[in-house]
Symmetry: D2
Subunit: 337 residues, 4 copies
């Protein structure tokens, strides 16, 4: 940014775990300020406002009607996303919405034409696109360093399963957790045309109770012909397990897990033993969240941006739905356009 | 072996690339000697015999009838395996036969009762079971070091595709190449009950010409509930890519690629750069071939042995056939018994 | 800090590279604010104040006399340190002074009794003590994880030599660069009793011109009997080379270089090649500077602190002087008390 | 070797640990056979001969007089080396002698003119020159891959101290253990002109008893200006610790320890933990011993060879003596010619 501009005034809707991350990013970025914070649980809004600035309210409508905003971050529960995106469009406010857009593709498709027709930018919160390691890898793939991609392997294992109540409303592991990886597959390989998913209930009582899987493997075929493999688990004993490998015609690029320390120990029992990897996504993707906001500021200001779009959010959901069907039916599901 | 016994006298049938490996192992092992070598191309047999000992013939029948053998290694082309195993049984000679038993499961099933009824040991050449790293990993899994296995990932990429003529008679990548990984999946996870395979033609003209894949991903479900992912490619620019990871309830065990040197270089362009991995299977699995022979000697002598059996060979072939069908039909294939 | 206290008001003297680092740390720490900034080049003070807060002046005296400070950071040129520490003591202001205290041990010794007699805390800017990796390593050594330390190896190579004008006033590599490592040797091994130093002029014209070395190796013997080896160079092609290894009776702890990315590339030329390490100390020791400030706040508030003391600063200088003599005379120099 | 020649007939003098290694190498190499084995303890000679071939005797003289030899390996106790080398020269037999030539440089110098005047090749058993990793590193340094060498770091730690009786006759750690590293320093940097050594008695009763060190650091200056650091210990809990790093003007080459397995384990306690390194030199340098013999065969046959010479053996001893003096006097020792 060569020209000095006034900081963008943000409204934040939702002050759960992710909402708090966005509040901190907004407060830390010199190009942004937190002007309004809304949460039906107004205590949450007030706590965030007192820490990071802005006025608190229990009403998203009041926030949107304040006339004091340049952009909005939606971090409220998934069922509210579609209506809030629509309200932002109506208010002419660029919006960064957390994933997924909705659990119901029909509601997403109903909103789709309005988004397409609007000049107001809508960005989706696929923060992993902004992780320095993933972004570097994609840029190097694009620069031809390893030739044409042939296979992409994504491993994502969370430290431990969420509470059963979360599972109950999550929309299932494919739409809740794997959706990040579906977006990454598109980020690296472009359009996906075939989905084949395998799920298992191996350890999590909550998943079993709510008919969900705790472990899945998904195989995707891209329009380019390349194949992607996604491995997910709701549990990992070694810390947050986030790895990615792209194998191309001339070599491969690998993203390793993030070490929690530069120290290793060697003894008579074992050598080069390191502490487990960083604990979870707030630590692993801290830089990604900050960069996601920076890119969204560009977008909101009318500049070029690499922010994932509403269409990216929809495409990942389509794949998630296909994976769900594939895992249930034991058959490949084809995706048309 | 506490008691000193006379070396076991071996007959070797087939003197192609693998046959020569077995000849060298037999000559190097103090418990074995090479007594007879047979190959229809008698020049091959003579060359091996002159280097590693024994008499050469163009006739496997003559070898088996020599009365001078204690055991046989069959390393001839696949279509000859069933008849040769049967001949060894008839001759009362323990036999170590290269994989696969046959490309046609019907022929394997026809031989099956005879093998089951015979006292003569039949071992299958799944040499990777004897690789020190894989064997160590399995032993540590069995010892409970990482808890109950939940996911197994096997990556196997050859340095480059074989000639089109080889592809033509190989029985397809699942029965030719992936079969090793199917056996490894059983080695680690036990019985496999579901197979889902995805194949692609990405770079190899020979594969395209003969309706084969050059790249495949196979997802297996074990009776235990654990899931295995196998990733194969006929080409790898970084050397022979042979990795394995078992993730369990308490941690994971990982087998890395074999470095070709202990040296790394760091410059202004890159740090910790190493030479590509060892080139191919003769180098990577040299120790495995020697250990495979040692275990077979135990078996032939009537001792306890970890050698894979005829049933192991059949089971891997059943999975390979299922993978073939799954890749063609786009559906999970269930395996019964 | 359980009780909420008002932020500590800081005066910063000196706004060169390190001064700016401290200014940023003070501004970012919720327990501290920047109240006054002094630099004879008042433009520097004004720039820092406008960015991080506080009032600017060209006069350290005016800063100290403001009556608006709770603590001072001295980051001015080395020859001013002794007088400024003394002025802080007189003003009753806790002071964190950059290393070295002075190039002349006589001036340090002249100040010594006054520091010892004063109740006002004086801390030395040996920031590496606060690096998470070094601090973790020391804590694990102290916890007995590797038994009694026997050998400490410290490698420190800067990306490139400073300008010749800097070398001219630096006091020589031992007092300018190695002094950090001397403090680390004491941090890990306690008192040092023998110093043997070897220096070379291998590549830097500035070092040659001013009779300094660009590459040194120093061997220290601790009172405990343990030996330390320090390897310094003013140039490193691979980025900032900062490694440490403690070998004890039961094993070793190793601090690796900080990778600049989690990505590695493998091709037909090389595998596992990574980008060069992080560039320099601001990046490598960013967390250390923040933690150094946090510990100093504890100290200034009268709490327990691990901040290095004036005596630590003196002891490192004594070793540096000994190293200088050793390198000149080709003999071991003993250190008494 | 393009021309097929008769295998070289070897006499082996001394059948201790190293003698047995040479016997095995000679038996395994198709270009060599073991013809005679001598050891005053004739049982040792007989055991070796019965395992690897040849005739046994208790008399080196008888071996040398047999008229049935083309070359000799001397692996007897150090005090016998000089006389045996001389006897080999008199017998016209190329000789590969274990290090050191003698503990007394005067005896070495007395033999020196005769070696220089003789046409019979004399090679010294500095096997580490033939280690694939060290040899590769030197070749890459020579090829200019990292520019002019500026610093060489050699770490060598044995798994555990030898018996006190061995220490008693070893000539001290510099002549017994560090001598390998002195040769490596010359191998990489050429002539050494200054030696500065520091020794300590930290854990080994045998070393203390016999006035020897169990831990040493030696700093060498090469004629080129480059500096080398050698770190030795008689004990290492992590297995055989053998590392080397050459830092040059454009980058560095690093030789890592040899892993004993490709397997690593990750759990909630630690990640990427590996088994300790290979145990000791027979395992670590197995290939080096075989290659050392192969090069000596070239030399004995009159071809070009990279075998270290008598002069190399003498030069390392001169450095060892200098190190001994330096450690005793606390002063740099200069080496002339």
């Amino acid at each position: 940014m060569d020209m000095q501009e006034d900081p963008l005034r943000f409204g934040l809707i939702g002050t759960g775990r992710i909402g708090q991350v966005h509040a901190a990013s907004i407060a830390a970025n010199p190009d942004t300020t937190l002007a309004w914070v809304a949460d039906p649980f107004v205590g949450g809004a007030e706590a965030v406002a007192s820490r990071h600035g802005g006025r608190a309210t229990d009403s998203p409508e009041r926030l949107l009607a304040s006339g004091e905003l340049d952009a909005v971050v939606v971090a409220s529960p998934t069922p509210t996303h579609v209506a809030l995106i629509e309200a932002c469009l109506d208010a002419g406010l660029p919006v960064l919405c957390e994933k997924p857009i909705d659990l119901d593709i029909a509601k997403v498709d109903a909103l789709r034409p309005k988004v397409a027709a609007s000049q107001v930018p809508v960005a989706l919160g696929f923060n992993q696109r902004f992780d320095p390691a993933f972004a570097e890898t994609r840029a190097r793939v694009a620069a031809g360093e390893i030739g044409e991609p042939e296979h992409l392997s994504i491993v994502s294992r969370d430290p431990g399963p969420p509470p059963a109540e979360y599972i109950a409303v999550s929309g299932g592991i494919f739409r809740d957790m794997t959706i990040h990886d579906f977006d990454m597959a598109r980020f690296f390989l472009g359009d996906i045309v075939e989905v084949s998913a395998t799920g298992a209930q191996l350890f999590d009582e909550g998943a079993r109770e709510h008919g969900d899987f705790d472990s899945v493997v998904v195989v995707l075929r891209a329009a380019s012909g390349a194949i992607a493999t996604i491995t997910n688990s709701r549990r990992s004993r070694i810390g947050y397990d986030q790895r990615l490998e792209v194998v191309g015609a001339e070599g491969s690029l690998t993203v390793s897990n993030a070490p929690s320390s530069l120290v290793s120990v060697s003894t008579a029992r074992a050598v080069e033993a390191r502490r487990p990897y960083v604990e979870f996504f707030l630590e692993r993707y801290a830089t990604a969240y900050a960069q996601e906001l920076a890119e969204f500021v560009e977008l909101a200001r009318g500049g070029k941006s690499t922010s994932p779009t509403f269409e990216d959010g929809r495409a990942a959901l389509v794949i998630a739905d296909a994976a769900r069907r594939s895992a249930a039916d034991g058959a490949v599901v084809r995706i048309d356009g």
